[in-house]
Symmetry: none
Subunit: 199 residues, 4 copies
């Protein structure tokens, strides 16, 4: 009923789809997001341009698909040793290491650009990658709350944001280095709050 007859997904070439995703990831790693071109992806993938335009609306969408291809597990779950601070610190330290790896940075940063430009990609990336990540933290905090380790009035979702966002901003803006010390203090201060405690 659309004026453009929709393509028949059952006939879609998985071979091409795969090649396009791989080419997109490879190229974005080599040249950065804004030098990533549809023509470049098509050439690298040995594919006609139309095959990309047929199935994706923008290069951001290709990148999102390519990125979520391998990471569709949904974000997973945080460990629960019974000590919230320890668990959060451990996971954040691992994440710090991941984000300091140049090979990982390029496509991830590219996706951020795509996202800020394009609210479709923004929605997709948020729901497929970011939300599950935040939820994993919130779940772990909620578990601690149920165990009495966390104030019942606290909002676990908000708490997750307060821990993850400073991390994300630092990485995104390269304003300050991402270190284990930083994430450790982040957890400590989120737990302790600013108000003085009576000994």
């Amino acid at each position: 009923m659309a004026n453009k007859t929709a393509p028949d997904a059952t006939r879609r070439s998985q071979r091409s789809r795969q090649a396009i995703c791989e080419a997109a990831l490879a190229l974005v790693g080599e040249t950065g997001y804004d030098k990533l071109t549809i023509e470049g992806i098509a050439a690298r993938a040995g594919v006609g341009k139309q095959t990309i335009y047929r199935w994706w609306p923008s290069k951001g969408a290709v990148l999102l698909d390519a990125f979520t291809e391998g990471v569709q597990d949904g974000g997973g779950t945080l460990p629960d040793t019974g000590d919230l601070a320890t668990d959060l610190k451990a996971v954040l330290r691992a994440t710090v290491d991941e984000f300091n790896d140049p090979a990982f940075q390029a496509p991830y940063r590219a996706l951020y650009v795509a996202m800020v430009n394009d609210s479709e990609v923004s929605a997709g990336f948020t729901s497929k990658v970011l939300e599950p990540g935040t939820r994993a933290y919130a779940d772990r905090i909620r578990a601690a709350q149920e165990a009495g380790e966390v104030d019942p009035d606290a909002d676990p979702e908000l708490a997750a944001e307060m821990i993850l966002s400073p991390f994300a901003q630092r990485w995104l803006l390269r304003s300050r280095p991402l270190t284990h010390a930083f994430t450790d203090r982040l957890v400590d201060q989120a737990l302790a709050g600013l108000r003085p405690r009576r000994a």
Copy 2:
């Protein structure tokens, strides 16, 4: 140092500089960052393209200059009524309103894109706009700390990041609405921390 002989800044036309900055801001508001073109800016400003290329390395840099032109006050200071929570909430509520204004969003969002792409712009924007903003919060928190309102072990800089970053992320990713309720709870939870308090 530079292999291209640097232009003589003393002969620079302030008239053109002004016109370029205004055109850049106007256009980015009308069309968004990725449709912002050097040619467009030049045409709007009634200026030769070369005059832009002579003085700025990229459209991101132009935008940064244009943006910081009117906002060079350094971030200012937060009010101090003696009650930290009240002051933070008041300022954040105002900021929420500002960031929900579409007229303000476009250039600011554009700068974010420019920043993620270009580490030069990133450094400039961080040091000229973001750092002073964060410092204003940190200063207010430090003042509260000296007044005994905040735990002496807390880190005011980190506290400022924990309050501002969730705000920035929400705005950037459009993941959840920016409301006064959100920022109020943000302040409360930052102050209280997660750990339960003995009444």
Copy 3:
């Protein structure tokens, strides 16, 4: 052979080719060769610049193609009334009129410029336009030679050059007016030679 993969000529748009040639001729007539621009041709023809660059190496080459498009007959033949002088004079008088027509001058003069600059164009124009023209004269002279009207030792090719070149030079340099009297005397003197004849 070529390092740039050659375009596929079978898929070439004849519509565009035609429009480009017409636009080039029209523009060169309106503005002259050095104000003729590829951009101008493309705009006038309603064509992308790349379509010109894909098929022609320079604006001179476009002009050559445009010019030879309508004149591919090969130069034709001169009339043969049995009297060489009469025939040569008649044809030259017609050519004088043609070259004094401003509408004809512009593209022809433009081609001369293109030619002097660019030896490719030079070769093309010479072989497609000038050689056939000269040959037509040489053929007529050879016919006269075979009829005993011309000295058997004379070189018809050279004779053609001696008649046509002074004509071309005068036109090219605008040094002296092109008149019927001039070409008449040219023919007479070429036939008679300089040496006195015992009558």
Copy 4:
């Protein structure tokens, strides 16, 4: 009285004039006419652009000045041994050698381009360089005429054109090689004419 106050020629820097002419000749030899730029000449001559624009209307005019600077003798005179054919052949052979010298070709060819484009340059070059050259030939032919060696009805000016123009055209169009044999036959045929002579 002109709206642009004419520059005061008495204050003109001969130093600059000299440098500009030398730079123009050097550059045209290195890069060809159409890559010759006013900026390039100014830079090479260590001169401001305005100094060129003040004194010359176009790059063709500069080139013409530069070229005629060293050749202001007026064309000179042809030798007169009493045998016209011998004298003409000798001079033409020398000219052939000159025009086959690449170092001489470039600026001369450049001037031709300038000329075809620009009727001012055309007039200047014709009157300062070409006319005197042609006149020298015409004078020698006229002398022969007075000596009875040439038909009294022949036109020496036209005869000079008939000898020099084929030469010029061949060189200009690179259509055929310039050789001694060619110019020798040119002279012979111009003298003999086409019509058969009774032995």
